[in-house]
């Protein structure tokens, strides 16, 4: 053991790990370049991971969004359990979009490539990416079961020893709206897996490595120790926090108990509302990712992700709740539940580490989907994203209109107007929407479109916090809630609407919560707010 340790000293580990991160980053660049999905190249809605031969994550691409923390390595382990090492051979590529074993909804297709050396599996390369279309209903909140949400790909091989499963490809081609683009993106992911395989082999050649498990263990142990060290600085205890959210007919309730004991953290969502016959259920993998994200932001933000740092973090939730639904629940809009979770965890941690958390942001993400027939008779679908304000922290105001916890850009107005029969009247800060406080929450924004189409436009929304605003912390005020209006009247965002020519749709994304008492706000900031018209 001592000999093994000395081989992987602080220098070799650093150099080899840096190179592994460059391998996943290189694969990520390949995906951005080759994908059709705008979610890949404008929103980094994909991830590339290298794991050791047990499915423990060594490196994840630097820009990959929090949704994918720990999900891909878990997918690799599901494949190991389901298919078995003995049934894997060189040239295999594995595929699934199982929401429970993947990332929480069918649109994210996961690809895994076992990497062989000397006849043994030494590592896995894995990618997941949001494909342009996976069949099923379009972003429908009303779906009651996963069957309505698209084609399901169980854990299986798409390439077996170099031979493509043409039956699977044919079935997929038949079941999605944009076959060329969806299948094209799957091939782009396969290329990225193969690239990681090639680069890892070269790395192992260069450093004369037969296996990477011992190196991985050294790295995981160090990362785990680093995370345990920062956790043990947090006072022991159980910290609770609850929020209510808009819900549908009635509000939903989120409850969390975060227990810190020595160097372990347990996040327990007992008391959270039951799962719903709507598409907003958030599978456990996503619940874990969002909870671990909050803890990492608070305690160890600067360190690159690997398996070891998440070992001290456990997340549990009772079965059949919003945050741990069972098959075959509908899950496509998991973000509209999952994006609340980091806020809930912060709410609990605020009681012991007030300077390391953020008041609630104006998230979850807002999405406006329109679909219809163009004036030249062709069907089109357009998806527009908008973000609210970030929450304030104990040290500064929240930023206005910034995607959090996800990281998705908003479409430029000039592109939106070009791609859809909508005319934009304004897109501007929602003045006064940030919760007041010693530090103010970030501003949301307001946008208004007029339909220019001779034909009806079907309009769907993903819009949270239209009734219950983003809470402030430590005496900070809540942000302003969001609003969705058609022709000036508030509407129910849970159902689809049809817009005719000349009708207007107005969106106002929520502002972030404030932090600390407003009477402690420094005068120069209050003056600046007035001068710039933020309030």
């Amino acid at each position: 053991m001592t000999e093994q340790k000395s081989r992987y000293d602080s220098i070799l580990l650093e150099v080899v790990w840096t190179r592994m991160i460059s391998i996943v980053d290189e694969a990520a660049k390949a995906i951005v370049r080759t994908s059709f999905s705008t979610l890949s190249n404008e929103a980094n809605d994909f991830a590339c991971v290298l794991t050791d031969n047990r499915g423990f994550s060594l490196a994840q691409n630097s820009g990959s969004i929090p949704s994918f923390i720990a999900t891909l390595p878990a997918t690799v382990r599901h494949f190991i359990d389901e298919i078995g090492y003995d049934n894997l051979e060189p040239g295999d590529i594995l595929i699934t979009n199982d929401p429970w074993k993947g990332t929480g909804h069918l649109s994210d297709v996961c690809l895994v490539c076992p990497i062989f050396r000397g006849g043994q599996i030494v590592a896995f390369a894995a990618t997941t990416s949001h494909v342009p279309d996976i069949g099923g209903r379009l972003r429908a909140m009303e779906s009651r079961q996963v069957f309505e949400e698209g084609v399901q790909i169980p854990l299986m091989k798409i390439i077996s020893a170099g031979k493509t499963d043409e039956t699977l490809v044919k079935l997929l081609t038949q079941n999605v709206r944009t076959p060329e683009q969806t299948i094209g993106d799957i091939w782009a992911q396969i290329s990225a897996c193969e690239l990681m395989q090639d680069r890892l082999q070269r790395l192992m050649d260069d450093y004369a490595l037969d296996e990477i498990t011992a190196l991985a263990d050294e790295l995981f142990d160090r990362a785990e120790a680093a995370m345990r060290k920062v956790i043990s600085d947090v006072p022991d205890g159980t910290y609770r926090y609850t929020i209510d959210t808009d819900g549908a007919e009635e509000t939903y309730h989120f409850a969390v108990a975060v227990t810190v004991k020595d160097s372990d953290i347990l996040v327990d969502y007992d008391g959270t509302s039951p799962s719903q016959p709507r598409a907003i259920n958030c599978v456990m993998a996503y619940t874990y990712a969002m909870s671990a994200y909050a803890i990492k932001c608070a305690l160890l933000p600067e360190l690159a992700n690997n398996e070891g740092m998440f070992r001290p973090i456990k997340v549990v939730a009772p079965k059949d709740t919003l945050v741990n639904p069972s098959y075959p629940a509908a899950v496509v809009a998991r973000a509209s539940t999952g994006h609340y979770l980091p806020v809930v965890v912060f709410g609990a941690l605020q009681q012991v580490i007030p300077n390391k958390v953020m008041a609630a942001a104006g998230s979850p993400l807002w999405v406006l989907t329109q679909t219809g027939i163009n004036d030249d008779g062709k069907p089109y679908t357009n998806v527009l994203f908008y973000n609210g304000g970030m929450g304030a922290t104990s040290g500064k105001d929240g930023e206005g209109c910034l995607s959090w916890p996800s990281n998705i850009s908003s479409s430029p107005i000039e592109i939106s107007e070009r791609n859809s029969p909508l005319f934009c009247q304004f897109k501007r800060f929602a003045v006064g929407s940030g919760g007041n406080g010693k530090h103010r929450g970030g501003l949301g924004q307001e946008i208004e479109f007029i339909s220019e189409s001779e034909r009806p436009i079907i309009t769907l929304f993903m819009a949270e916090r239209t009734r219950i605003a983003a809470p402030g912390f430590d005496g900070g005020e809540d942000g302003q809630h969001g609003a969705v209006k058609i022709n000036g009247k508030n509407i129910d965002t849970n159902t689809q609407h049809v817009m005719s020519k000349g009708e207007t749709v107005y969106l106002r994304t929520p502002g972030g919560g404030g932090y600390g008492d407003a009477k402690d706000r420094p005068t120069h900031l209050t003056k600046l707010d007035r001068k710039r018209g933020y309030v």
Partner: protein, 699 residues
């Protein structure tokens, strides 16, 4: 009668001045500290010194070329003009809302880049053009003047005008620009159609605002510099380096100074391409490593690669998307926080990290003896025997080796490693940082690093080139003479250049190629006018047509070269040639067969170049001699062998045709080239030192 050229590159710390004598093919260099209060002072003092010391006749200068980091610094330090923005009613916040994406995922105290124009200096104007270019609401001049008045009353010295869809129909911006210029002759104006006529209001607006922000500065500075140089008796016309690696005239630079933001690095990349042209067949990875950063750029067939967007004034220097997007043509390069002054430390995992924090020049590396206690890359390079403590930077810095060793020893204790392991570790880790960044960057361009030679410049470049090249699997290193000050020479080998862009939204399967021809003709006429105004022969202009193409439905544009035109005659065959050009570009970059989906050109681009007449710059080494003799030996560390007595050569004493094996140390006044065991060294006709690496594992 002699024929001289003068090149001046103002950097953040130093101003480099080079005089090239075309009759004798000799160059004279002078490096002086940049004078930040009035940058032209260092230029004039330095140039006057060279003229005096070498008794040069100012009347015999035929060319004066200038690059400067002045405008970039103004953006970074927010020291430009008080700037206002006039924009379409309903949209004044686009500049601050931005793309709505985080550049750092885990930082809850993240700060967006502060907009150059605060909200109270952004005013709206009643007007509207739609996405098909039609006027929906005519420009309301009352609202225009009311808004402009308020900005000027609030102190705006420069005003940007950015109206929606002006890339398609600039009528309102033009009308506003004319009306305002007439009414307010003392205020500087920039309209977006003049600077970056491309779709996407945030990127176009950010570029326009940045231009407005530095424009008054450019107007004053360029005028004064031209005047002062004329005062020395030099009557050569002042030419300015633009970011794409070409030259333009003073009026054009004053109109769009934003084009000059990357002029210094562009000169460096051009110099790299020039130095390596003969010895590497034109495919180079130009590697410049100085005190705080390393820069890497790719050169294909002798041409540095061009990018069409970059970021200025990053909030976090080395973090993508943390800066202000600037849509101009620019030499593509990546900057890494890795230099001689980069500080070594351990992270939360106990791993050895190097940079991006730097000791800079104050206090500098521990071995400078100016009070620095942190171990830096330079300290490790001394401990490894790579640098000469008795003659560092030509003897201008006194080295305190003990201080450097002490700093390394404290890291050694922390990690439980030996001094030797730590010194090599620091060298190895910083090399891996640069190699990893290079791998990702090269992969992004769809290239294989093994097809490139490494061209090293900068103070630390030649020290680190050997093991960086090994990590990347490169076969050859080229080290030019005076590698420490090479980049200013790039100014003297640049052609005249104009870059233009237009948004067309051209669908290849149903639009008429004649429309595209018409767009290109307009761009070509405009470019030729600038070439003529630069004092070059418009008839010698070479045009290169490009397009930002995509498959319909894709969000990502690929810039491809198009055939030269004209796109007239048989429509089907013209269309086919355009499709083929896109497909070829797609295959080259992605190595994948493109799918059968319709293609759209979102923007078209034109680059026009014209040679600058007059003396050529030639590279030549010392002739005669033969049989290089080391001036001595010193112990140096190589991972293949450990410390060995290593031959030391004096660079100015080498001659064309000299050959010797590694390990070797080749010293110059500005830098030291390190060659590992098993490599072969040769001095080429150009005077370049060529290192051929041994075959084998590339660690």
């Amino acid at each position: 009668m002699s024929d001289y050229s003068l090149g001046v590159d103002i950097g953040g710390t130093f101003t480099d001045i080079v005089v090239y004598d075309h009759t004798t093919n000799q160059q004279l260099n002078r490096k002086v500290l940049t004078t930040h209060d009035d940058p032209s002072r260092a230029v004039i003092d330095g140039a006057a010194h060279l003229l005096d010391a070498h008794e040069l006749d100012p009347g015999e200068f035929s060319r004066f070329v200038h690059a400067t980091t002045l405008f970039t610094n103004a953006l970074v330090e927010r020291k430009g003009a008080v700037t206002g923005l006039l924009t379409t009613d309903g949209f004044r916040d686009f500049l601050e809302i931005g793309r709505e994406r985080k550049y750092e995922l885990y930082d809850i105290a993240i700060e967006k880049p502060e907009p150059l124009v605060p909200r109270d200096l952004r005013r709206e104007v009643i007007e509207r053009i739609t996405s098909d270019g039609a006027v929906r609401t005519p420009l309301d001049t009352n609202s225009l003047f009311t808004s402009a008045d308020r900005l000027i009353t609030s102190g705006a010295e420069s005003i940007a005008i950015v109206f929606l869809h002006s890339y398609l129909n600039a009528a309102h911006e033009r009308e506003a620009l004319d009306a305002l210029t007439t009414k307010y002759p003392d205020v500087s104006f920039t309209a977006s159609f003049e600077v970056a006529p491309e779709i996407r209001e945030y990127e176009r607006g950010s570029t326009t605002v940045a231009n407005a922000y530095v424009k008054p500065l450019a107007e004053n500075y360029l005028e004064s510099l031209a005047g002062k140089i004329a005062g020395l008796g030099v009557d050569a016309t002042l030419l300015l380096m633009i970011s794409s690696g070409g030259l333009t005239h003073v009026a054009e630079a004053k109109r769009t100074p934003v084009q000059m933001l990357e002029s210094g690095p562009a000169a460096g990349a051009l110099a790299g391409a020039f130095f390596g042209a003969e010895d590497a067949g034109g495919n180079l990875l130009a590697f410049d490593m100085g005190g705080t950063t390393a820069k890497l750029s790719l050169v294909d067939d002798g041409e540095p690669l061009i990018a069409y967007t970059f970021e200025a004034a990053r909030q976090k220097r080395f973090m993508e998307n943390s800066g202000l997007p600037i849509r101009i043509s620019t030499i593509e390069l990546i900057e890494i926080g890795a230099g001689g002054g980069s500080i070594a430390h351990t992270d939360a995992l106990g791993l050895l990290k190097v940079g991006p924090r730097s000791a800079g020049s104050e206090p500098g590396p521990a071995a400078y003896g100016q009070g620095g206690t942190a171990a830096t890359v330079t300290d490790a390079d001394f401990a490894l025997g790579y640098l000469n403590a008795d003659n560092f930077a030509g003897g201008t810095v006194t080295i305190d080796l003990a201080a450097g060793t002490k700093a390394l020893d404290s890291l050694a204790t922390e990690t439980g490693l030996s001094r030797e392991q730590i010194a090599w570790g620091v060298h190895d880790v910083v090399n891996e940082n640069m190699a990893s960044a290079a791998r990702v960057h090269i992969a992004e361009r769809g290239r294989d690093p093994r097809n490139y030679a490494l061209l090293c410049t900068g103070g630390a470049g030649p020290v680190h080139a050997y093991y960086v090249a090994k990590k990347l699997g490169l076969k050859q290193i080229i080290c030019p003479a005076s590698a420490g000050v090479a980049s200013a020479l790039g100014l003297l080998v640049a052609p005249g250049r104009v870059d233009r862009v237009a948004t067309v939204g051209f669908r290849l399967n149903d639009h008429d190629p004649a429309e595209l021809e018409c767009v290109f003709n307009n761009l070509e006429r405009d470019a030729q006018g600038v070439i003529a105004a630069t004092g070059l022969d418009p008839a010698s202009t070479q045009f290169n047509r490009l397009a930002d193409g995509r498959f319909v439905g894709q969000g990502f544009d690929l810039v491809v070269n198009l055939p030269g035109g004209p796109y007239t005659g048989d429509r089907a065959s013209v269309r086919q040639s355009l499709v083929d050009a896109f497909m070829a570009g797609y295959r080259e970059k992605f190595g994948r067969t493109p799918p059968n989906v319709p293609i759209e050109f979102m923007n078209v681009r034109l680059s026009a170049t014209a040679p600058v007449p007059g003396g050529e710059v030639l590279l030549s080494g010392n002739k005669g001699g033969g049989g290089a003799t080391p001036t001595g030996t010193r112990p140096a560390y190589f991972p293949e062998t450990g410390y060995v007595d290593t031959a030391v050569y004096d660079r100015p004493g080498l001659h064309v045709g000299d050959e010797f094996p590694g390990p070797a140390i080749i010293e110059d006044s500005g830098s030291t080239l390190i060659v590992g065991p098993g490599a072969k060294v040769r001095v080429a006709d150009t005077g370049n030192v060529i290192v051929t690496l041994p075959e084998g594992a590339s660690v």
